[in-house]
């Protein structure tokens, strides 16, 4: 019963955040445009040799997605902080983790949608041939997005309420994301190349482990972080 209540809270928070985004759209458009811009810049850094661009496609895609996603995380608290809505939100009864889950779900939808567009553009720009194992590739995208969003949503709850939030969030987040990014990049790269060495499996397992560990850890720690 209690869990059903919390689940309703999670959905309510996610719905609220997504509605705010949907009504302005400026945030989403800006983030997607930034992702595409970064992809283009990577093209300049790596090109114009087609094979070199293709080899680096997986890494460039994940980094473009990461840099764009970072902007989304601070935003997800920013709107509430500016209108003084975070404290009233905390006054509502119910578990704290539900607030985190809701925000995470909203960020995941936001970043997921952004990722779809950036990946499609990336496939065209980097002349990637879509492999036969494309369902696995989508799985990697989902797992990677979960990893990035979990820690992004968590660290943004602190960074957005500190001085110098623009610096602090990437400074805290990027080193923490090393295993997730490494695993996501290597798995994507292996799958794009046809996974001849069967190495994607190990990376996907690592990604799953990372996601599970930090989903639990952030949900446990959020209570301490949001109340302070």
């Amino acid at each position: 019963m209690a869990f059903a209540d919390d689940w309703r809270r999670v959905r309510a928070i996610a719905w609220k955040d997504l509605t705010t985004e949907r009504r302005s759209k400026a945030g989403f458009n800006g983030v997607v445009a930034l992702g595409v811009t970064i992809l283009m810049l990577f093209g300049f850094a790596l090109g114009p040799d087609t094979q070199a661009i293709r080899d680096a496609a997986a890494g460039a895609l994940w980094l473009a997605a990461l840099f764009a996603a970072v902007l989304a995380f601070n935003r997800s608290y920013q709107v509430e902080l500016e209108s003084g809505a975070l404290d009233p939100l905390l006054l509502y009864p119910g578990s704290r983790w539900a607030i985190f889950s809701g925000k995470l779900l909203a960020n995941l939808s936001f970043v997921g949608l952004m990722l779809v567009i950036v990946v499609l553009v990336g496939i065209v720009l980097f002349q990637v041939t879509i492999p036969a194992a494309w369902p696995a590739l989508i799985g990697v995208l989902v797992l990677g997005a979960i990893g990035i969003c979990t820690l992004g949503t968590f660290y943004a709850s602190m960074a957005s309420r500190s001085r110098a939030r623009e610096v602090l969030l990437p400074l805290l987040l990027f080193p923490m994301l090393v295993p997730a990014l490494l695993a996501a990049m290597q798995a994507s790269k292996a799958l794009l190349g046809g996974d001849l060495m069967h190495e994607a499996d190990a990376w996907i397992k690592l990604l799953i482990a990372y996601d599970v560990i930090f989903l639990i850890a952030t949900h446990l720690a959020f209570e301490h972080v949001i109340e302070a």
Binding site: L151, F154, Y155, M158, R161, S162, R163, A164, V167, L168, L171, L172, F174, P175, M176, V178, P179, L182, A183, Q186, A202, W203, L206, A209, Y210, I213, F214, A217, T218, A221, H224, V225, E227, A228
Partner: protein, 235 residues
């Protein structure tokens, strides 16, 4: 926001300066022992002397970060702000040792591996750990409210510590060329003594640094509390 008890008295230096003097002498003795008594390595020659600073720095770094983890957890459990200050003191010293480990490792790596930097598991994860704790210390700088700073840095410290193992594993899968971990069995007996002495010297030095830094952090907080109390009395 600051509702924490102000009942504690800042710790005194006591005999710690004496301990510091002993530590410095012990360190000098350890280094002299390493430099003069151990024979030059068959392959590396006198280059091997650097292990008497590089290896102890790396070992003691791990101990220091374990102290950060311990006090962070204890802070979340007991909510005593002195635990937070102890964690902060240990984090500063740990980051210093971490930087020292990296720098000495690079100096060691250039002549032995031929490169300043190699993307192997231990080097890379040590660098990631360094960056995580740079983030931890920056967080402490950028947050003014003491209670908020304490809770947030405890969370960041614990999550960072959880991540170390995962980072290490991920980078090891990615690429490895570092030698296997050294243990007394893989190191010749003549090196073991000097290595042990220097490991203890670094350990004492770390304890001394953490203690003195903890004292000064406590004094800063006590001064804040006194100023707050004076303001409340309308002085």
């Amino acid at each position: 926001m600051s509702t924490q008890s102000t009942s504690w008295v800042p710790p005194r230096a006591g005999r710690w300066p004496l301990f510091g003097a002993f530590t410095i002498l012990f360190l000098i003795a350890g280094q002299v022992l390493g430099l003069t008594q151990s024979p030059a390595d068959r392959d590396m020659g006198d280059l091997e002397k650097i292990i008497y600073v590089h290896v102890p720095a790396a070992w003691v770094m791990s101990v220091t970060f374990a102290i950060v983890m311990f006090y962070s957890l204890r802070y979340l459990w007991k909510r005593d702000e002195r635990d937070d200050l102890a964690a902060a003191a240990a984090a500063e010293v740990g980051t210093l040792l971490n930087g020292l480990t990296l720098a000495l490792g690079m100096i060691f790596g250039k002549p032995t591996w031929g490169v300043w930097w190699a993307w192997d598991a231990r080097l890379t994860s040590t660098l990631v750990l360094f960056l995580i704790f740079i983030g931890y210390l920056s967080l402490r700088e950028f947050v003014d409210d003491p209670e908020r700073r304490a809770q947030w840095s405890a969370a960041v410290g614990i999550l960072g510590a959880i991540n170390v193992g995962i980072v290490y594993m991920s980078v090891r899968w990615w690429r490895t060329l570092h030698q296997m971990q050294s243990s007394p069995e893989t190191v010749d007996a003549t090196y073991v003594l000097a290595l042990r002495v220097n490991a203890f010297a670094f350990l004492f030095l770390m304890i001394y640094f953490v203690r003195r830094r903890y004292e000064s952090l406590c004094l800063v907080r006590a001064a804040d509390h006194a100023a707050e109390a004076a303001a409340l009395r309308g002085a």
